[in-house]
């Protein structure tokens, strides 16, 4: 019977072409959306964790509560000691001390007089230790477009866009004016070692400088301290459950409720609303899929009704020769499932081509993502990714929608009067 139905579907274009096209379009869009999200979300997680949140992030309780002010005086005062403890407890993780601070960058002229000043936000990380992996985590090796990587604690990297705005060249000396952890003024000269383009609009278009953490510690008078410690799983794959174990251990074993400087740990999704954002993206995908299913269902329902009218004679004949109504109904469902499978196979193939193009060429949304911030980073060029889900996700709307469509439209067969078949079939 399946072969019989398949022959009918393949030969009768008016029975199959429109429903197959509907399923094909719906599944192709679903697969493309899935591949798009499959590329964007991991990229966002990786970039944001590498640049800001880590897989687990430690701060002092007080710093966390006032984190938008970046209060250096509330930083972790013994970050290095804490890292030793964490290294011993979690050998499958790497821990990095980082400090974020802001200040005024003074750019002198050839006589050493102030030529320009601008506010900057600075990130200090271990850039010059022989075994440091920060250069990789911050993607600095690929991001330096002029000059070289820092070799000295007082070398800085400057965003190329800002350097061009203020005519700063590689090798120039600039002065960072800020305050120390104790609140006193700090003036520290840095040499511009290189200029960077991250390919992340939120960083490239802002005033960002990157320096070595030892230089920053001297400038800020915070020996051994840092504003945060980022923990990364060594396989660099974020896992919420594993991260929860780590953050729970820190919060249960290292936290002292009476100490405002006590460290607290946050998982990636607990930092900067990442969890809400990931939930939002999950909900978005669910809603999009539901909308596709609903639209396809309505279209295929109507298509099923039209087909029911067009195939009125066929159904009558089948009833006359002794096919049960229930059997006809089931064959209609089977037929719609076959249409769903055919449409889904072609739709998935087309969707995969779409995802492949997104993966290879991407879409430059740099201007749109320039103002995202607050620790959430996207690459300028958003890329899709062919994930295992792309191969099967289309079958959800592709099979459900035609099945539901036939489930509703096919019920008309039960209203057919066999008593008038002779008359109906002879008109």
């Amino acid at each position: 019977m399946i072969k019989f139905l398949l022959i009918g579907i393949l030969r009768d274009r008016s029975r199959s072409l429109f429903p197959i096209l509907t399923v094909l379009i719906g599944t192709a869009l679903t697969v493309t959306m899935t591949g798009y999200m499959g590329g964007v979300v991991p990229d966002m997680i990786q970039l944001s964790s590498h640049l800001d949140a880590g897989h687990v992030k430690l701060m002092s309780q007080s710093f966390y509560e006032n984190r938008h002010q970046m209060p250096l005086d509330l930083a972790l005062d013994d970050a290095d000691g804490l890292i030793e403890t964490l290294d011993a407890q979690f050998p499958d993780m790497m821990w990095k001390a980082r400090t974020r601070f802001g200040g005024l960058l003074d750019i002198p002229d050839e006589n050493g007089e102030t030529r320009a000043q601008t506010t900057v936000s600075a990130l200090a990380a271990d850039l010059i230790s022989p075994n440091s992996t920060e250069l990789d985590y911050l993607n600095l090796r690929e991001s330096v477009v002029e000059g070289a990587l820092p070799q000295d604690p007082f070398d800085v990297l400057i965003a190329q866009a800002m350097a061009k705005s203020y005519a700063i060249n590689v090798g120039d000396q600039v002065t960072m004016m800020t305050s120390t952890v104790n609140g006193s003024m700090s003036f520290q000269n840095f040499r511009v070692a290189g200029m960077v383009v991250f390919g992340i609009a939120a960083l490239d278009k802002g005033g960002a400088i990157i320096t070595d953490i030892e230089g920053a510690r001297i400038a800020l008078d915070m020996n051994g301290g840092s504003t945060e410690i980022l923990g990364f799983f060594k396989d660099d794959e974020y896992n919420g459950e594993r991260a929860l174990v780590v953050s729970d251990w820190v919060n249960n074993n290292l936290k002292d409720v009476n100490d405002p400087y006590t460290p607290i740990a946050l998982r990636f999704e607990d930092s900067n609303e990442f969890g809400a954002m990931m939930q939002y993206m999950g909900s978005f995908m669910f809603i999009i899929s539901a909308v596709f299913i609903l639209i396809m269902f309505i279209v295929l329902w109507n298509s099923g009704l039209m087909n029911g009218l067009r195939r009125y004679g066929e159904m009558g004949l089948r009833l006359a020769v002794g096919e049960e109504k229930g059997h006809i109904y089931r064959t209609l469902l089977l037929e719609s499932s076959l249409i769903g499978i055919i449409g889904t196979i072609f739709g998935t193939a087309i969707g995969l081509i779409g995802v492949w193009m997104l993966q290879e060429y991407g879409i430059d949304l740099g201007n749109m993502t320039a103002n995202t911030g607050d620790g959430i980073y996207y690459p300028n060029v958003i890329r899709g990714k062919i994930t295992p889900a792309c191969f099967y996700i289309g079958f959800v709307p592709g099979l459900i929608a035609p099945f539901l469509g036939s489930l509703v439209s096919g019920r008309g067969i039960y209203k057919r009067q066999t008593a008038s078949l002779f008359k109906e079939l002879e008109t």
Partner: protein, 230 residues
């Protein structure tokens, strides 16, 4: 009822509600049709021929009285049982052939066997036998649109007889055919009736068709007014 009686009706009445009254389509019809008969229900339009075919074919149920086909009480059958009776024992031939246009001649004839759950090889043999019977072997792979009216009706006959039913009901089977094709079709049916002992019951008002009938049951206003065997 004896086994030889394929169809037995007793005081069969069929009425339909029309506006605020009942329209009487069949009035106390009492007929017996035995195995292997070649009989025709004749009469003008509205005489009740098609209604009687409907009831005998288990497409409809009597309002009162009883109808027995192959020892099945039509009035007591569920939809499923009625479908099963049609599927196994009754073939239908319509005025307009009603072939499935997207399927080949072979596939059209094969369809009732699919419903019976016959195996592939058995189906193939039965279909080819039926097509051979009807002289359609060379047309097996053609679509209905490629056939003449006479050929189409022969395919319809092949579809009706392929499962070797005990009873074939034919409603105006030659109405759309010219005299030559009508003759050919009726001769084919006569041959089937003679060689396979298939019982044929026609509904017709065509004088030419009546000449082939071995028994003519005349209906007028839902009543049997004459029942004569040649």
């Amino acid at each position: 009822m004896t086994a030889a009686k394929l169809i037995h009706t007793h005081d069969l009445v069929k009425t339909y509600p029309v506006a605020d009254r009942e329209f009487i389509a069949l009035k106390n019809v009492n007929i017996d049709i035995g195995k292997g008969e070649f009989a025709g229900l004749v009469g003008p339009s509205g005489s009740g021929k098609t209604t009687l075919l409907n009831v005998i074919g288990s497409l409809d149920i009597p309002t009162s009285g009883s109808v027995s086909v192959l020892d099945h009480n039509i009035g007591a059958l569920s939809h499923k049982q009625a479908a099963k009776l049609r599927n196994h024992h009754i073939g239908f031939i319509f005025q307009t052939y009603n072939l499935l246009p997207v399927y080949t001649v072979f596939e059209n004839v094969e369809f009732p066997l699919l419903l019976l759950g016959k195996g592939t090889e058995e189906r193939k043999k039965m279909v080819m036998d039926a097509l051979d019977w009807l002289g359609l072997t060379e047309k097996a792979e053609m679509r209905p649109a490629q056939l003449s009216g006479g050929e189409s009706q022969r395919v319809a006959i092949a579809r009706a007889m392929v499962k070797k039913p005990a009873l074939i009901l034919a409603d105006e089977p030659t109405a759309n055919l010219d005299a030559k094709n009508s003759h050919h079709i009726l001769k084919t049916m006569e041959k089937l009736n003679a060689e396979l002992e298939t019982t044929f019951l026609f509904a017709t008002h065509d004088e030419k068709v009546m000449q082939y009938m071995k028994r003519i049951i005349s209906l007028e206003d839902g009543e049997v007014v004459k029942d004569e065997t040649k």
